[in-house]
Symmetry: D2
Subunit: 348 residues, 4 copies
């Protein structure tokens, strides 16, 4: 920690911006240089003893080293390009964009600076998911042959959020498609998708209440992803990777370590932690530590723009399969180029 | 137990015949009247103090009330017909037949005696799976919206078994397709299937090392089935039914209640019970008790020939989907007609 | 199993007699030769197709090889002596007697036939407790340094049972004191006991609603036993043995493998199995198999009359400590002489 | 958070001082005003951008609102008195002192300012232990009838630490004795203690490798505490409170949510978190938040000097019982006076 603190600006003032601002202010290696954009920027800046400024000023000021882009989705791609042009390291909330061509344009514009941009796929930064990857890479279970990912929200998003969300595959499952790429060796060959329609309001908006996707890997392995927009028992974030030597699973986090037993319901563990803010609290802190390291030139992105593009491409293929009822070939991607370099892999 | 014991003959002398012979001899309401068929019939009969005889004699003798058909699969359909013709109640190992037309022929030949024939879908008789059904029927979680069934064998079958097995869908997944019908309300509309190819020996025989199947129910719900022919951590038999009010799950059984903790592997529970004989021990006992009750006229079959046919039809549709890469519509079936009548439902 | 079946008579017709009669009738190596004693003997014999007879006839008839003594406690000691005099192998329900002198008299009278008498300490025959012993003997955790035994009944016994029961220490904790001897190396040096008084009815009868006992072993280890006469969450039978290399624990058995999750009580496992008959079902079967083996001369008793005497002596010392409020030295016992011989130890 | 930040000085520069300095610097309501005392004070201050100063200066400066006393144990009592004299709110590490008379002198000297002094019994601030208390107070299980507390360190402390530590009862078990007071209604009547002697080095120093203590409550309930200085499977911090309506238990925390299964050790959860710093991370943060609130006058101490005194008195009684081998009466204490007032109880 002999280095000077990395000065980070947060772009946006919504929920994720608030989480990131707090973590930046508590990070030993970072300080919150500014909050920019959004009607709540001034209040958020004040809460953490920082200042607010115009978005473009944040991208241009030389005393800002890095930015966290948590602006509305439609601005992500252009903000990335502007921040990189201003010499900043970047952590950008998913998605890079809902449109594949715009993502490609962003990647092209970023050019050789691509190693300065981290996509905030929070599962990659979670200690438990990261431990599974580390143990898979260490050969503990052999190559993954069946991967099961379960991701269920406790309740549907507000209905007004749905139309601009890109739909379940691009909005929600994109995290799980990225996890598939994080844990399974090699390319995927095809995808098959089915949608669940048990919520008439979501159906009326052209979206689904859940989905099941199967990815066939080129090496013969299968990945299954279960998504649901509502789950009575809470936020459900699990994973099981089975290989020829064993299985590694991630269970749900609970609020406390208390278990109650009584006549009516013996052995009741505590409830699952209710929201992504709680479940991925450590991951969000890690994202900031990683951004600090990337800004200092110490690490390549754990999740790059190529990863962001590849997950989006899989989401689009899944949506196509769900609509057509056929297996859809999946596009080749850059995954081998973007694996963390060996020296940083020790960390994940 | 005031009734006279039900006299049951076992047809066959292989693994399942041996399990059934033992359970019959230990049942308070049954006695092992004979073992018939197979080179090991005499030895098996002697082990339990019974006698061996010709298969047709077993079907014809008036002092035999019921038969358990555990002969090779290709004989099942005709043995059912002969046994019913001889007035016996029947418990037949799955599958009724690998060929749908032959199953239809069997059902036609059995005619009005269909309520005398139980198909040995062992999961239906397992106390845990049966408890899930009972709690679903009681409305505890609402209508099932997502059902996940995991069924993995510890190791592939002997290679010589594979060619005549009917393939993974008809040989193995048929149990899970039946479970889907056991737990989800209404008809299924379509099926999608993908196969796993990580075992070259199974691939060479035209079979798969695993598969994932998604059933879309007419009511919008989704069922996902994961099968694998090999699983390093043992026999893996789980299920999760999620509805709007909660989730009901069946976990794996372990050999003992012992948990070990040490420096290297904290919190290690005991191994999963290794084989179907252990995992479904109680289910196999229940099958015999149910046969006794059916023979006495007290219960209708918990799993009927219609259920056997319907699961086979789904397996065939899944195989077609896996080959074609498209979603395949699933046939209407008799499920509503074969739901247990209310008076017997109290039991399941 | 080429040997002829061992012919066993059950003495008594209460709850334990009924359990044993059922297991004898289902054992491949045994048959239920008779039920003797108690007003329900004839009915119990009929239920299993056996006959009833006078107690003394059972001890004398040459066609009876072994007896299970499940008569009222006050008859146990004399029935043991009479059965051994008649050449029978014996399984006797605990306690041998509530009086230490009478136990000593019984041991003296039995003389060299002591290896023909098994005391039915059911925990020793439970697959989970036996697995802990086997793993302790194999050195998996090193010498046990702290042993915790929890034994709680779901509800107090009928009040009319209490006065003749011998009190909590001799009636209930005797099982756990025997477990301490089963799992900890060497002699115990002293015992300390405290009683719980939260049930006025039990207090009025001079008994306790629970107790905590600490045994100090000569090797410096400590054993802690928690007993309670009532436990809201059900029958609670656990154990944890901690040594320098790890811990081995036995958890509670649950009725099924089902877990439910909902808004109000996430992660609820099934209830504990409610009664000793369910929890120790396998142990009771094992007791009969062991009796068959002892009758045939194949094994020495897994729990001998010396073990029965030693557990009683510890119970008396615990009761003395609870009353006096002081640490009480514990008597030397025969434990080293009665450890299973190596050849039979392979089994436990 | 409209209030000005509470300026806190840390007294000491050892392990606990370092933990507290970090939490103060990350607390939104506090700032680290100074580090005072100990050879490492300057370095610790620098690490968090603060300054170091003399201990007495910290107690006297008007711009310091509160102090955290993490100096060597022998200074705690006088530091408390000096800090209170300087008008500071205080969080003092346990023990207040190893000598009961000195604690009484401290309480007398503090006088009416006793509500300004918090004793850092970290379990009271742990979300899981606090949740058990909250649920007990809400009547969920009725009055606690049996309380079991298990506290085992992963490894003995450095041998040079032992002579000045006060021995296992005052150094280690004092936390658990405080937990007994935290969860059981009413006074304790007596204590019984036994010590484990399996570590010759600790025995040579006059200390024990473990202990079991039983507290008899005036209402008839029993508390059992198991301590061990070494535990192969890691830091073991559990609790079970059983009442007439149910049981509430706290399990161990694990490092991640990952579970591994393989041939050799099925179902292995992750290791327990290794040290108190990890296990009580949230509790240490809560201690600082509570100190901020006490400094602002918003809350009375969750653990007061009376609580510190009472736990020490129980530890001394336990040590006396272990030495004498008799049950020792326990002194009346101020517990009812120091229960959190209703308005703050909503929090715990």
């Amino acid at each position: 920690m002999s280095s000077r603190k990395v000065r980070i600006a947060v772009i946006g003032s919504g929920k994720m911006a608030t989480i990131h601002a707090g973590n930046i202010s508590r990070s030993p290696g970072a300080c919150l240089a500014a909050v920019a954009g959004g009607s709540g920027a001034a209040a958020l800046a004040t809460a953490y003893g920082s200042t607010s400024m115009d978005v473009h000023e944040a991208f241009e000021r030389p005393d800002i080293d890095a930015v966290v882009i948590a602006s509305p989705n439609r601005f992500h791609a252009e903000h990335i390009v502007q921040a990189v042009a201003g010499g900043k390291a970047v952590l950008v909330e998913k998605p890079v964009d809902l449109d594949l061509e715009r993502v490609d344009g962003c990647i092209a514009a970023v050019g050789d600076s691509i190693d300065r941009v981290v996509v905030a796929f929070n599962r990659r930064f979670d200690p438990s998911f990261a431990a599974v990857r580390r143990r898979v890479l260490a050969g503990e279970i052999g190559d993954v042959e069946q991967l099961l990912i379960i991701s269920r929200d406790p309740a549907p998003p507000p209905l007004e959020y749905v139309p601009g969300s890109g739909g379940l595959f691009r909005d929600m499952m994109i995290h799980d498609l990225d996890m598939a790429r994080f844990l399974v060796a090699g390319e995927f060959a095809s995808v098959q998708a089915s949608i669940q329609q048990t919520n008439p309001e979501l159906t009326a908006l052209g979206d689904a209440s859940g989905a099941v996707v199967t990815l066939a890997a080129a090496n013969g392995a299968l990945v299954t992803i279960l998504n649901s927009r509502s789950n009575a028992s809470g936020y459900d974030q699990r994973l099981e990777a089975a290989g020829p030597l064993g299985t590694l699973a991630v269970t749900n986090a609970t609020g406390t370590l208390v278990r109650g037993s009584c006549r009516d319901g013996t052995n009741a563990g505590d409830s699952f932690v209710p929201h992504y803010g709680d479940r991925y609290e450590a991951a969000y802190r890690e994202e900031i530590e990683h951004l600090v390291s990337v800004a200092r030139g110490g690490e390549k992105p754990i999740a790059s723009l190529h990863d962001g593009r590849a997950a989006l491409a899989l989401a689009l293929a899944a949506a196509e399969s769900a609509a057509a009822g056929t297996r859809v070939p999946t596009p080749a991607d850059h995954r081998f180029l973007t694996l963390p370099a060996p020296h940083s892999d020790a960390r994940y």
